[in-house]
Symmetry: C2
Subunit: 209 residues, 2 copies
């Protein structure tokens, strides 16, 4: 029986939640877009395999990753029995990513507006999305999508992009304050023609996440 890992890689681009997909070059599902993934090697843990796939696709390695769910219906891959352990990962929007992999065409798609995917990858992506939305509410995963230093408005835009709804600025800021994870940097970001915004970094907390 074959075991693979598939990694749903999210980032924020242009203010929307986007997911990295690769275009398949061979059958089955030739030319269809799919979630990046590959076989688990003999001496690596499942998470190491997921991190390796991630690094191969994006070039980055130190980031948030979490096991999502395992999919193994017979027939999900027409070539044979393949069980996949799905992971999801969050990449900071500041990271410079390998433009497109040597081996395969890769591109970012808005998570909600994407082409139909190969295999059961639509199902996997939906599971990742709903897990991400859930965790956003009771953890600090959202911070993983931003660069080290960020403004409160940027953070709020991340939440809004993921939840796909507008949030109240004052309530949002109060909630963040209660979490006690924001450390003011004293510094500001001047982004052009308006009042500069204070910068924050995430305080390392043992809990949350």
């Amino acid at each position: 029986m074959l075991v693979t890992v598939d990694v749903v890689i999210f980032t924020i681009r242009d203010g929307t939640l986007q997911v990295l997909l690769v275009r398949r070059k061979y059958p089955p599902f030739k030319e269809r877009w799919a979630i990046p993934g590959g076989f688990v090697h003999d001496r690596e843990t499942l998470e190491e395999a997921a991190l390796r796939e991630l690094r191969e696709e994006t070039g980055v390695s130190d980031l948030y990753i979490e096991q999502l769910y395992s999919f193994g219906d017979p027939g999900r891959d027409p070539r044979g029995r393949v069980v996949t352990i799905a992971y999801f990962a969050l990449v900071s929007s500041a990271r410079e990513l390998k433009a497109s992999t040597d081996a395969s065409e890769a591109a970012w798609f808005p998570a909600g507006k994407r082409p139909p995917l190969a295999f059961d990858h639509d199902q996997i992506l939906d599971a990742a999305l709903s897990r991400l939305r859930n965790k956003l509410e009771y953890t600090t995963v959202g911070f993983q999508l931003l660069p080290r230093a960020f403004t409160l408005t940027e953070l709020q835009r991340v939440y809004e992009a993921i939840l796909a709804k507008r949030l109240d600025k004052r309530n949002f800021r109060r909630k963040m304050e209660i979490l006690k994870v924001l450390k003011p940097l004293g510094d500001v970001r001047r982004s052009g023609l308006k009042r500069p915004a204070r910068l924050y970094v995430m305080r390392r907390t043992k809990f949350e996440l």
Copy 2:
């Protein structure tokens, strides 16, 4: 690479949350207790495999089951690379279970007071316990541990056994009322020398769980 399913089977016995373990007859971990499990067959889904293991161990088949997490560290099984998809299942305390399997010795242990287990099964069991406790708070999984008809006190005892703490009777009943999942049966249970308790069944809701 080998793929197995392991199933953490919970029930309520003597007012405590118990888990079904089997004693291993062969190395590795000969004589140690372990979570029941086995290989995934070629033409069955992962969940079907988990249900089959469950039926083989307990003789029951229509019950609550849910995928928990996958464990696949190299070295978790000294015989070779084995990835296991862990499930957890809830068996109603009313069910008559096969006393002990033909093939292997099986027994119930209090979930909190159990012997050290084979492989990484302690880790799996801990994960199952914390998942169960979590889900208890925002779903109706707890009902799965009771027979079809039950009293409110019985239901409260289930919650208390799982959370390992006492709950307030009035607050508990109000919470159940808000859930709108209790259908009064009109009938009562006379259990001896005291006031009879009203019986309820769970109303089938599409949501929850």
